[in-house]
């Protein structure tokens, strides 16, 4: 009955509060269940005609079990407020940070920027059904994982592209909703390691697949990784590999909607069975959209532009993943 080991100050504060109140609750639980079990055993009916003393109440007792719980509640409330004021991401009581505000609310935005000095700001977009991370400079965009430098102050500026999502990394501190049309913020500073969490507001078919991973690397390793990513972003992609494509397909949101016989893909949202995809004349039954590698590439990059209103979302696939998926899908005969 314990929370996952915290790695940030906020998460530690949350866990400390929880642990304290949990054991308090265990105390109340033992008291109530103890009285209940004792009564059932001690006061069981022994003779069919016994009539116990007809007690209607007791003013003193009533007062005791009204006042004592009230005091307990007041203490716990005080502890919680204390924790809230200490949680770094929230600023001070005098100037509560509007941690969620409408995009374009400049005043709130300035308060956020003044709240804490940060070493790096990463933009996060939650969309059905991936988290997309945009690094400073705008060249590097990742989706599978968020790589950050360890022991640095990081701020995530988050918004949603479609429906409500929630950023929940249990070990990293407070959860927050990520709303369309609004900005939400998370601050953290973590030791090296890998942390996992996931979207925590139901957001549709592949909600369960909307995993969030954070990998914190020492600064030097992070710089190396970042340089690689920046280079990869400008380098041409290599030819698609069907095996890699298959791997990507089976381990992403694709399987939630698509059906391919004999595989993990058992989704029934997409109208067409993909088992023999390569034999179909068109893509997504769009007139004139002939089923070939070039059109498939266009389709995967932006389905809505080719068939407005289709249930297939823009998954913001990376160029290499598109190549691999095209290679894989065209092997399905």
């Amino acid at each position: 009955m314990s929370m996952l080991p915290p790695v940030t100050e906020d998460a530690r504060l949350i866990k400390a509060l929880y642990d304290l109140v949990f054991w308090l609750a265990v105390g109340v639980f033992v008291l109530v269940e103890g009285l209940l079990i004792y009564s059932v055993i001690r006061f069981r009916r022994r003779r069919a005609d016994e009539l116990p003393l007809q007690v209607h109440g007791n003013r003193t007792l009533e007062l005791i079990w009204t006042i004592v719980p009230s005091v307990l509640i007041a203490i716990v409330f005080g502890l919680a407020v204390d924790t809230m004021t200490r949680m770094t991401a929230r600023g001070t009581l005098a100037n509560p940070v509007a941690h969620v505000h409408a995009i374009g609310d400049q005043q709130a935005r300035r308060r956020v920027e003044a709240a804490q000095p940060v070493d790096m700001v990463i933009e996060v977009i939650g969309r059905q059904w991936v988290w997309q991370y945009r690094y400073p400079g705008g060249d590097v965009i990742t989706t599978e994982e968020l790589v950050v430098p360890a022991n640095k102050n990081i701020r995530l500026d988050m918004t949603a592209a479609d429906v409500i999502h929630a950023w929940w990394m249990p070990q990293l501190g407070p959860m927050i909703y990520v709303n369309p049309g609004e900005m939400s913020y998370v601050w953290f500073n973590v030791p090296p390691g890998e942390y996992v969490g996931q979207c925590n507001v139901y957001c549709g078919v592949a909600h369960a697949n909307m995993i969030a991973r954070v990998r914190a690397l020492p600064q030097a390793e992070f710089d190396e990784w970042f340089a690689q990513q920046s280079a990869a972003a400008s380098v041409a992609v290599e030819p698609g590999d069907p095996e890699r494509g298959r791997n990507y397909f089976m381990n992403s949101a694709c399987v939630a909607c698509h059906y391919i016989e004999g595989t993990k893909a058992q989704g029934k949202v997409a109208p067409r069975d993909l088992t023999r995809f390569a034999t179909y004349p068109t893509i997504a039954q769009v007139d004139g959209l002939e089923n070939n590698a070039e059109n498939l590439r266009r389709w995967l990059k932006d389905p809505q532009s080719l068939k407005p209103g289709t249930a297939m979302p823009n998954l913001n696939l990376k160029a290499q993943d598109v190549e691999d998926l095209v290679a894989y899908l065209l092997t399905l005969r």
């Binding site: 719980p69 429906v163 939630a256």
Partner: protein, 539 residues
């Protein structure tokens, strides 16, 4: 017993057969129909619950595809809340026993009562039939916008879900009007304020909550229907929190709408099977009313992580925690009622004790998750799923079964088999805890609710497997209950008062005649049936 002779109304000569049920305006028949309807939806939604547990028994399962899974949990929640618990406790027990317990021959508006039932049934059937035929909502029972907008939920099922809820809402609002008027104007002579039975107090509070909370949900549902079908912009022009506020303004009080009547049932059963009056009856009544009022001041605790002002968060954290005080008063008064009593562990009493033992867990976890920082961890996790099942299954369902074992002898005139009843209790108690206790731990380990599957390797396998096994034990316990119901046909007769009850329904035959009371009773204390029994004793 003192009584007043008022001629039995002409309606006493009721029609029999199928037409007798379809055209009835008798509160008892309507109550029974509510119960049969609610129980059918309990079975249906329970089967959906089993499907959920099968899917989650192990990681990466494909027993249900994700879309079907999402439709299944949406209907599981909707069915259990709107079509089972509320109609069962308010429509079923309320209709049958509220008039009997206040010594009335019917409710104030019998025809309106029938209308409430048929419109509730209509709403339920529309949703259920659409579900069976494939027009299903998958937006979960809270149907947050923008996911439930036309753009992201284009299905007909979503519209049908909304319309079904509007209909059941109208039904329960009209029912609430009926109950309030009935209790206000139709109590038997001598039934002064503090002589009103606990269950009736609970129903009055519940009815007032239904009356004031439901219309706000109805307005929100109408606005969403308009957004989806007439391109209005209520929830797109505003931020999505407008829906959240309006939805929870109803749906948090709805928790008390489900639990207060059950607390009323338990407050009736514990004294009877302890052979003592309810300890601190006034305090219990006052706590009921306080819970009803405070129930309207807590809804924002569902939105602690959706982005509300920190000052508002503190306010709602406080009001939410304060509810623990009147709830605690109830719990301690129930314990004090049993203390020094003569406790007879018949099945209704076992179920009531089960309620008390399990509800306490749900109440405590409720206080813990009301703390904003803790809520920022457990919100929407399986911890919350565990919490509200301890309140609504450990609390409401155990209480409902307590009520059924207690009152079915009155309604049908036959006694349940005690051994089967105890077996039912033991199996359900074990199965319930196996299913829902591990969910606390799963939530703390990071498992979100409403996920169709999960990866291996996050430590969630064991807890989920135990929960699935527990769910099948619950199903088995319900089979035992059905056997017990079938055996009722040939069970021994109940007589007027099999339990040495305290309230007026035990002074008349089982099942009660159409007109309830041949003579309107005159009430002289809060335990009229007890008084009558005492008078009959040889001095």
């Amino acid at each position: 017993m003192a009584s007043i002779s008022i001629p039995v109304p002409w309606r006493a000569r009721a029609k029999s057969g199928l037409l007798g049920w379809l055209a009835t305006v008798d509160h008892k028949k309507i109550g029974l129909m509510y119960m049969v309807m609610a129980f059918s939806f309990f079975i249906g939604s329970g089967i959906l619950g089993l499907l959920i547990r099968v899917q989650l028994a192990a990681p990466n399962q494909t027993f249900l595809d994700p879309q079907t899974y999402n439709q299944v949990f949406t209907m599981h929640g909707t069915g259990m809340i709107f079509l089972f618990t509320i109609p069962m406790v308010v429509g079923g027990f309320g209709n049958y026993f509220l008039p009997l317990m206040i010594g009335a021959r019917d409710v104030a508006f019998p025809r309106l009562n029938a209308f409430s039932f048929w419109i509730t049934l209509g709403g339920g059937l529309v949703m259920a039939m659409a579900f069976v035929l494939g027009a299903r909502s998958d937006a979960s029972w809270i149907a947050y916008v923008p996911y439930s907008n036309k753009q992201y939920s284009p299905t007909l099922g979503m519209d049908i879900w909304l319309i079904g809820l509007i209909l059941t809402g109208v039904g329960s609002t009209l029912g609430a009007v009926n109950f309030l008027v009935t209790v206000y104007t139709m109590r038997a002579p001598g039934m002064t304020t503090w002589r009103i039975p606990m269950f009736v107090w609970a129903m009055v509070t519940t009815a007032a909550m239904v009356l004031l909370a439901t219309p706000v949900l109805t307005a929100a549902l109408l606005m969403l229907v308009a957004d989806r079908n007439f391109s209005t912009q209520f929830f797109t022009a505003n931020n999505a929190r407008l829906w959240q506020h309006m939805f929870w303004f109803y749906s948090h009080p709805a928790v008390y709408i489900m639990i207060l009547p059950v607390m009323g049932i338990v407050s009736e059963i514990l004294p009877v099977f302890s052979r003592k009056p309810l300890f601190g009856a006034k305090a219990v009544v006052i706590s009921t009313i306080l819970i009803g009022i405070l129930g309207f001041t807590t809804w924002v605790h569902h939105m602690f992580v959706s982005g509300v002002d920190p000052v508002i968060e503190r306010f709602f954290m406080f009001t939410t925690m304060v509810i623990a005080v009147p709830t605690g008063v109830k719990v301690f008064n129930w314990l004090a009622t049993m203390w020094g009593g003569s406790i007879d562990l018949k099945t209704p009493m076992l179920m009531a004790i089960g309620f008390l033992a399990m509800f306490v867990i749900g109440g405590l976890s409720g206080v813990i998750q009301a703390l904003v920082p803790v809520n920022q961890y457990v919100h929407n996790s399986y911890w919350v799923v565990a919490h509200f099942h301890y309140v609504l299954f450990g609390g409401a369902v155990f209480g409902i079964f307590a009520g059924l074992y207690y009152w079915v002898p009155k309604m049908l005139g036959r006694m349940f088999d005690e051994r089967l009843g105890k077996l039912h209790f033991v199996l359900m108690f074990i199965g319930f805890n196996l299913t829902f206790f591990p969910m606390h731990i799963l939530g703390l380990m990071g498992m979100p609710r409403r996920i169709a599957t999960y990866m291996a390797g996050r430590g969630w396998e064991t807890g989920n497997l135990i929960a699935t096994i527990g769910a099948f034990i619950i199903a088995l316990s319900l089979l035992v209950f059905f056997v017990n119901v079938i055996k009722l046909r040939h069970a021994p007769k109940a007589g007027n008062d099999p339990w040495e009850g305290n309230t007026l329904e035990w002074t008349i035959p089982s099942p009660p005649p159409e007109y309830n009371f041949r003579h309107i009773p005159v009430v002289e204390s809060d335990r009229p049936a007890y008084d009558e029994r005492m008078r009959a004793l040889p001095h």
